[in-house]
Structures are given as C-alpha cells and as structure tokens.
Symmetry: C2
Subunit: 183 residues, 2 copies
C-alpha cells in the first residue's frame, strides 16, 4: 500500500467518488497536503480494487461520459483506520524556496526581492483560501468539528494546519523581503 492509496481511501471513506472526482479533490489547494495526477490515480484505484479495499459500479450519464463510482469496503475502512496510527516514517521535507533562500547571497538583489514578494502574495492567497474554508467549517459544522469521530473534525484539523502553515510561510516571505529591501 502506498500513501496515495491511503489518501484515496480516506476520501472514499467520506463519500463514493469517481477517479475524476478524486483527481479534482487532489488538485491544489483543495487536496490538503497530498496531491496526485489522474495518471497515478486510475492505476492506484485498480490496485485498491484488486486488494478488495474498494469496489466500483458504472454510472450511466446522458449529459456527459459515463463514470465509475468507487465505494470503500469494510476492509478498506479497517485498513485506513489502522494505517492512521501506524509508525510514521521520518517526513521528507523538501522546499525549493527555502533552498533558494539558502543561495540568495549569490543572486541579484532586485530580482530576488521581486521573487519573494511574489511568493508572499501566493502564500497570502493560499492563507486566505484556507481561512475561508476554516470559517465555513465553523459556520456550517460548529458541532461536528468538536466530535473526533466525525469526518468534519478531521477535515477541520487538516485545514487548521493549512492556515498555520501558510500564515507562517507568508510571514517568513515578508521578513525575507524586508531584509532584501533594507538600506
């Protein structure tokens, strides 16, 4: 089982979805900290089905192409639940912008400043996006987000991480900009 497989199971545990739907949800910034292309999703769904973790049925559609609607099985639900608390491998953090910051002393000052200003904008936009989702959760599911057995709590927890992550990232970008702009 790959991590992508668990990501798909985690989405299918909430509602039945087609491969196309899953690909939409795993597009940034909707996919909370995991994403994949349809070229990886379709084969992974076939593997999950071969292992008996999901099943599918074809839905005939008149106004658009037919689709395969995937549903999680009881076994799939068990597998993803066990995976959540299984030993976590050391996370592989890779951030190209931080790496670039580490090399910024070799770059042109003005161009570097422009780049970090743009990145600050991008992350501020992303932050606004997450904060909107957070507000939506609090308005629409103010009860369920306190119930840890509810998928809404889990979604809210992921969004909380998105807010914190992007807030810190935006602040750091702005700090770099002020340093590059100083004097």
């Amino acid at each position: 089982m790959t991590t992508l497989g668990f990501a798909l199971l985690g989405l299918l545990a909430r509602e039945p979805l087609s491969g196309y739907d899953l690909a939409q949800q795993l597009k940034k910034p909707v996919g909370f900290f995991w994403h994949a292309r349809h070229s990886q999703i379709y084969p992974e769904l076939a593997l999950l089905e071969a292992e008996g973790l999901v099943t599918h049925r074809v839905i005939d559609q008149t106004d658009r192409p037919d689709k395969k609607l995937y549903e999680i099985t009881g076994q799939g639900r068990q597998v993803v639940g066990d995976w959540v608390t299984s030993p976590l491998p050391v996370p592989a953090v890779r951030d190209e912008l931080v790496l670039r910051a580490y090399c910024v002393w070799l770059a042109d000052r003005g161009r570097a400043r422009a780049m970090f200003e743009e990145q600050a904008r991008i992350h501020a936009d992303s932050l606004a996006h997450y904060e909107a989702i957070k507000a939506w959760f609090e308005a629409e599911h103010h009860e369920q987000i306190r119930d840890i057995t509810s998928p809404h709590f889990a979604g809210y927890a992921a969004v909380m991480r998105g807010v914190g992550y992007e807030r810190e990232y935006t602040e750091w970008c702005r700090w770099v900009v002020t340093m590059l702009a100083a004097e």
Copy 2:
C-alpha cells in the same frame, strides 16, 4: 539540472566539500529543507563535473580513505545565482501526518492521541535544534546576518524558516492532542 544539483552547488559555493561531506550536510535536520542520500549525490556530482560546474581533486589521507574534494567553478556560481531568481514551479506539498489527521476519525482515539503526542515531541526537538542554530548565528555572525551578500545571511534566513515551520507544526500537533484528549 535537477534541484539536487542546485543544492549541491549552493553548498559548494560556500566551501569545497567531498561527496561524503555533502551527504552529511544533506542529512536531516542539518540539510535545511532539502536532503538526499549518497547514492543520489555521487552520480549528480559526476553530472555537474561533466557540465563544467564543479571540478575535483583527490586528497590523499593517511588516517582515513582518500577523498575527492569538489570545488565550484565560476560558471557553476553563475548558474546557481541565476537559478535562485528563476520562475519557481508550484511547490508540491506532501505531508503524511496531515493526511493522517484528515483520516483520524476512522482511527482508535487513544492510539491517535499517542501518535500526535509523539509527533509533538519530535517537532519540539527539531524546533529546539533550529533555535539553537539561530542563536549561534546571532552570537557568532551578528554582523553578517544583516548583509544579504553574505552566505551567513542566507543560512540565517533558512534557519528562520526552520524555526517558524517547526514552531507552527509543534503548536498544531499539541492542538490536535488537546482535541483528542478532550472530554
């Protein structure tokens, strides 16, 4: 040119290093937001040398095996400087712990709480590590960390991100723990 290639050039722009040294620096948590194994580093160094971005000379050592000391060329310095401000591809954020949080409603409450407590400890340790490096920079290079043409400024900027990242991550883990512990 791969991102790893730029990472190696960024390190070699500071001082000549062997492949082994580079592998040590790119081990977590020393490698600030980029890491690689020696099995990837050695071939990459050969590619960089073939492109004329680095050169190497063999250093004879008596107390340990001989080593190849790599030095960046003028062209290599130019290439990495240009790369820093080149268009940045959309970052591919993948965080398995956040994905697990998104699925935590399917898991055992006690086990989940224990896992997030452990993760909080891990990230708190990492935060302490980054804060120690930050303090070292401020004590040893309090002048250079304000000079954007200095590698110390660049290193300080990367560490600042490490501090912010791990601080936020630790706080989020603790928030999840309190939610899982409530009632």
